[in-house]
């Protein structure tokens, strides 16, 4: 099942790429078709997934490179399932959203400078690798997908992006490659360690087993942890390594920006949750204070930067830097509600920021400029666009009743029960979130209608079909997150058992037990 999920988009990408030159419309339809098939398949898989069954389900394992001991091993636990669902749902919407983004690569009315079908082929390839990276349970396979993902994104940003696209694309690639190389060193180190402790392996289950963990001396564990952690910190932009995100997301076409921020960055946090914590429990506990300070700085720093931006897409990018601070805060708080909240946050952030980027993309494709002061009073001219933008924005500032609130609340409550001060500082983030979203909304949507915006059309049917499901999901998860949480909780419990952390008991109960 999982291999099918990876193979179909890959084959689809090939198919779309090999279509005859002029047939752009056909390319789009094929791409949409393939992504829809994948979406349906993943939903079927999700339904069949039994939350309290084995941790890894739908597992497949074949020898890949026998000499290195590398398997093609795929399997899905709660967290991976939920993230795969996120990506397989987002991609068709992105394909639909950027229906004619690629056509305008040559300027508004000029014939498309760049071939439309490559754009869609790249999107499909990206989807294949996204599913692959979440499904991989072999560290080496995970690494391969982790690096392979960069290529399609590089080309998408590079040839279909905004004015400084080449700078942004190269910066994105170099940043992630640098991280990737560190991770490669750590992966090899892992193999060597497992070789000393018996037979060398990359399989995640074997690596997290106690007999290998005892063989890793604390210092090597710290170094290996660092290797993995920096790669993931770059991918999910933690503060010092975040400068590539605003450029990449700012210059990428809206659809790609959704995938970059919505799914690609989740690989970083997913990696932290599964690989950093589970393979090196001691080291992660040792590094927790550092990570917490970084995430708290990230929250406040990202939010303050977002307030000061003049470009819509960069602003949204900086908001997700702040949101990623929350996610890493939740992960490294190591309480069950914190980590489940963090995982749920990944899903919610994917949808809410995805919606924000898509709508920003629609606005920019209409007006042509991404600057906030190029708009004004759009609410009067395009009420539907403004309304959906407001809902997406509100889910961005995690208004209760919408999905992000549930996860942010769980992260904050989970973090507070163990680390008081970071949680309180992080809560300041919700005030800053209100400021940057509403101020941006006011400058673009409210007030008298600016001249240039007068002729702006409201959301077309196609665009509505794109945004409506996301808004529906945001509201639905806001009121009833239980199904997603049921899938996430067992695997989070496993992680916590691995990290030998229990939830801190409420002080009352403790006092009660003392008397």
């Amino acid at each position: 099942m999982l291999t099918a999920l990876i193979a179909i988009p890959a084959v689809g990408a090939l198919l779309v790429a090999l279509l005859p030159k002029g047939r752009d419309a056909l390319a789009k339809q094929v791409a949409l078709g393939v992504t829809l098939v994948v979406a349906v398949l993943s939903i079927v898989m999700a339904v069949q997934f039994d939350p309290n069954g084995k941790r890894f389900q739908f597992t497949e394992k074949y020898w890949w490179i026998k000499q290195f001991g590398v398997h093609y091993a795929v399997g899905v636990d709660g967290v991976a399932l939920v993230l795969i669902l996120l990506s397989t749902i987002l991609v068709p919407l992105v394909v639909l959203a950027s229906w004619n983004d690629a056509d305008r690569s040559g300027g508004v009315d000029a014939p498309p400078k760049r071939s439309v079908k490559t754009y869609f082929a790249l999107l499909l390839a990206l989807e294949a690798m996204m599913v692959g990276v979440f499904a991989a349970t072999d560290v080496f396979l995970f690494y391969v997908f982790f690096e392979a993902m960069l290529i399609p994104v590089y080309f998408i940003i590079g040839s279909y992006g905004g004015p400084q696209r080449s700078y942004a694309a190269v910066k994105f690639l170099l940043y992630s490659l640098f991280g990737g190389l560190l991770m490669l060193a750590a992966v090899i180190g892992l193999y060597v360690v497992s070789a000393n402790a018996g037979h060398g392996t990359f399989l995640f289950d074997e690596l997290r087993a106690p007999e290998i963990l005892h063989h890793i001396s604390p210092t090597t564990a710290k170094w290996l942890f660092l290797g993995f952690f920096i790669a993931f910190a770059i991918k999910a932009p933690l503060v010092p390594f975040h400068t590539w995100l605003p450029d990449a997301a700012g210059q990428a076409p809206a659809g790609a920006a959704v995938l970059i921020v919505g799914v690609l960055d989740k690989v970083g946090t997913f990696g932290m949750l599964r690989f950093c914590l589970e393979l090196f429990p001691g080291a992660s506990k040792w590094f927790t204070p550092v990570v917490l300070t970084l995430s708290v700085i990230g929250i406040v720093y990202g939010a303050v930067l977002a307030i000061g931006q003049v470009d819509i897409k960069r602003l949204i990018a900086y908001t997700s830097v702040s949101h990623f601070g929350f996610i890493t805060l939740g992960i490294f708080a190591m309480t069950s509600s914190g980590q489940s909240g963090a995982t749920l946050y990944m899903v919610n952030h994917g949808f809410s920021t995805g919606a924000l980027f898509l709508l920003a993309g629609f606005m920019i494709s209409r007006r042509g400029s991404a600057r906030i002061d190029a708009y004004g009073g759009v609410q009067k001219v395009a009420p539907l666009l403004a309304g959906t933008f407001l809902v997406a924005g509100l889910s961005g500032l995690s208004l209760p009743g919408l999905s992000s609130f549930v996860s942010e609340f769980m992260v904050l409550v989970g973090t507070f029960s163990r680390y008081k001060v970071p949680a309180v500082i992080a809560t300041v983030g919700i005030i800053l979130a209100a400021i940057y979203i509403l101020w941006m909304y006011q400058r673009t949507m409210n007030g008298p209608t600016a001249e240039a915006v007068k002729g702006m059309k409201d959301l077309s049917k196609r665009e509505l079909i794109v945004v409506a499901p996301i808004i529906a999901i945001i509201v639905a998860l806001g009121f009833y997150p239980k199904p997603v949480l049921d899938a996430i909780n067992p695997s989070v419990k496993q992680t916590l058992i691995q990290v030998h952390q229990q939830d801190p008991k409420p002080t009352v109960a403790e006092k009660g037990s003392h008397q």
Partner: protein, 646 residues
């Protein structure tokens, strides 16, 4: 007189809600109806323009009917069987954090439900007339319904998370409604400001929730209040203060009061519903609902009273200097809520009076706002009182209803204001000790100032000779607007007596806030003083605004007057302390991020480029220099060989 603390030591009543049945089991309908209304109106788009507003009003009335039925069912139940739990669905469950979305129907929440749906429905009816010619009427009614739904969720939730959802939902509704006329930049800024200041309050509330979870392990009222006595004093005080911060944000109390006066940008029904009757009282509801916590920490309670009194005086002073009728009423709302917070901070007896005053205030303040709305409607939306005058002949019904509201608020004996506000002042004095005295006297002075500015408002608007502009010819508002005014006037007259007489409301709230220790004595030594101060206030206003002609343009006042006109420099303070440094901070961090972090990255790239440029020069092209390097290499190899070998 038994001291207050002795009584409280016994701790609040044990809260053991049983499962709800009968009408109360469908209490979720209360929230669902307006929510469905809002959803239908928002999603349907243009098609429902024609009958949209009727659907909205119907939904609100439906909720009111369900509320009344539940209320009567509750009256039928035995006293301590009155708090009922309605299980809805498990909301969040992750390891130790388990939050279920349940509704708690008990006397406190049912009284709020009645107030919200009752006053809310009246305002819906009023808005039919008020917004009849507004193109976006459908969206207005959608937002009103959304607000009612959120407010009901706030009061009905049985845990702090549900309360928090309602809390922010109400903040969102007020944002949408204040900024309803979005094309006006001032409205948009006011809406944003309201939301952000509310968010600061919500920060306090969410941190309180976190502390509660860390301390009690659960967030439902039952568990929190049940285990409250076991928690350490420091934690309890912390929770109390944080809840107070949340309450201040929402009820526009002193530190976070700047948004209330700007919120008048929204349409008048909004000001009436949200910024008079319901939303601003949410803070008082939070304090009264968490009475178990406040009873356990005296200094938290003390701070609540201090904030209450401070806001009371500030609101009153601001009310005196405002020429805009709505801003004056907003100032008075702020000061009346100050009274309620003061009462809530006084402990057991205070709760009853706080809620009673809240309900009474809900009636007469909403009535006055709607009255002001119909006055504005008549003076084609002009709010400057200096251009009114002599309207009593032209708009008799509005004058009559507004007058009754006025008499109620200044505490004219017999009307509801007198019952509830004097009760609060009396409770303040009874608190005993120096703090009791100070609170009591300040409350008294506040009552006097209230009488002054309300009379000023009455005289400037309805009495004296007309100072209208030429093109203005006021007329009475249509029936659909005056009927709610009349109903509210009746409520503001009878409300107080109905609640306080014979401690009816006290007994009603007993299961929630505990038995009142002494029945309320009507005539206390302070009643006379209150009456005297009232008369002085009215007289002063009479002298200043009825004897002498009111100038059409605001005269340049002395520093005190400008101090009041500038809302006690609240805005200036916020701007200089928070906003300007905030802007500087953002500009600085953006610069730092672009130059600093990015600088490092680009710098690194440039450095590598530079060094490679220099290293390139080593390739001189001369064969002999290459030969030299080869020879040096050979020498090094030989040296290394010897080094290793020897």
């Amino acid at each position: 007189m038994t001291t207050m603390n002795a009584v409280l030591a016994a701790g609040g009543p044990e809260l053991h809600p049983q499962a709800a049945e009968g009408v109360q089991s469908v209490a979720w309908l209360l929230i669902a109806l307006p929510l469905a209304g809002a959803a239908i109106l928002l999603l349907s788009g243009r098609r429902t323009d024609k009958w949209g507003h009727l659907l909205g009003t119907a939904m609100s009335l439906g909720a009111f009917v369900v509320g009344v039925l539940a209320f009567f069912q509750m009256l039928g139940q035995h006293a301590d069987g009155r708090s009922r739990l309605v299980h809805l669905f498990p909301f969040i469950s992750a390891g130790s954090l388990k939050v279920d979305m349940n509704l708690l129907v008990d006397p406190l929440s049912i009284s709020f439900v009645l107030l919200i749906t009752g006053v809310g429905s009246l305002i819906h009816i009023y808005s039919i007339g008020y917004m009849s010619h507004d193109p976006d009427r459908r969206r207005f009614f959608a937002y009103l319904n959304l607000f009612v739904a959120a407010m009901l969720l706030l009061v009905l939730a049985d845990n702090y998370v549900g309360l928090y959802i309602g809390w922010e939902g109400v903040g969102l509704a007020s944002y949408l409604l204040i900024g309803f006329w979005q094309h006006k930049p001032s409205a948009a800024t006011a809406a944003k400001k309201a939301f952000i200041v509310n968010r600061v309050g919500d920060f306090g509330l969410s941190v309180a929730i976190m502390v509660m979870f860390a301390t009690f392990g659960s967030l439902s009222y039952q568990d929190v209040f049940g285990q409250a006595s076991q928690a350490s004093q420091g934690t309890i005080t912390a929770i109390g203060l944080l809840l107070l911060l949340g309450a201040c944000g929402k009820s526009a109390q002193l530190p976070l009061q700047s948004w209330l006066l700007d919120a008048m940008e929204g349409p008048t029904p909004v000001s009436a519903l949200i910024h008079a009757a319901t939303m601003v009282t949410a803070g008082v509801y939070l304090i009264v609902r968490s009475h178990a916590i406040y009873e356990l920490s005296p200094d938290a309670r003390l701070l609540v009273t201090i904030v209450g009194v401070a806001t009371l005086l500030a609101g009153a002073i601001i009310g005196c200097a405002k020429d805009d009728i709505k801003k004056a009423l907003a100032g008075s709302t702020m000061s009346q809520i100050g009274y309620m917070v003061l009462a809530a901070g006084l402990g057991r007896p205070g709760y009853v009076f706080a809620i009673a005053h809240l309900i009474a205030h809900g009636f007469f303040k909403a009535g006055m706002f709607l009255g002001a709305g119909s006055v504005m409607h008549a003076m084609n939306d002009d709010v400057n009182m200096r251009k009114f005058g002599g309207l009593r002949k032209v708009m008799p019904i509005t004058f009559a209803t507004f007058g009754l509201g006025y008499l109620a608020i200044i505490g004219f004996p017999g009307l509801s204001g007198w019952w509830t506000k004097d009760g609060i002042i009396d409770a303040a004095f009874e608190k005993g000790g120096t703090s009791g005295q100070i609170l009591g006297w300040l409350a008294l002075i506040g009552a006097g100032i209230t009488a002054y500015y309300m009379s000023r408002l009455m005289f400037m608007t309805f009495f004296g000779e007309p100072r209208w502009d030429e093109d203005v010819h006021p007329h009475e508002s249509p029936k659909v607007m005056t009927v709610p005014l009349i109903l509210l006037a009746i409520g503001s007259v009878a409300g107080g007596a109905f609640l306080i007489l014979g401690d009816r409301f006290a007994k009603f709230l007993a299961p929630v806030v505990g038995e009142p220790e002494a029945s309320h004595r009507l005539i206390t030594p302070y009643t006379a003083i209150v009456f005297a101060l009232m008369v002085v206030g009215v007289g002063l206003a009479y002298v200043q605004y009825l004897r002498r002609p009111v100038p059409r343009t605001a005269p340049a006042g002395n520093p005190a007057v400008t101090f009041a006109r500038k809302d006690l420099y609240g805005d200036a303070l916020n701007e200089s302390l928070l906003m300007r440094p905030g802007q500087w901070l953002t500009r600085l961090t953006v610069f730092f991020d672009n130059r600093g972090v990015d600088g490092v990255v680009n710098g690194l790239a440039a450095f590598i480029g530079g060094t490679s440029g220099r290293v390139r020069r080593v390739q001189t092209g001369f064969v002999r220099s290459y030969a030299l390097s080869m020879f040096v290499g050979a020498a090094l190899v030989v040296g290394a060989l010897f080094l290793v070998r020897i």
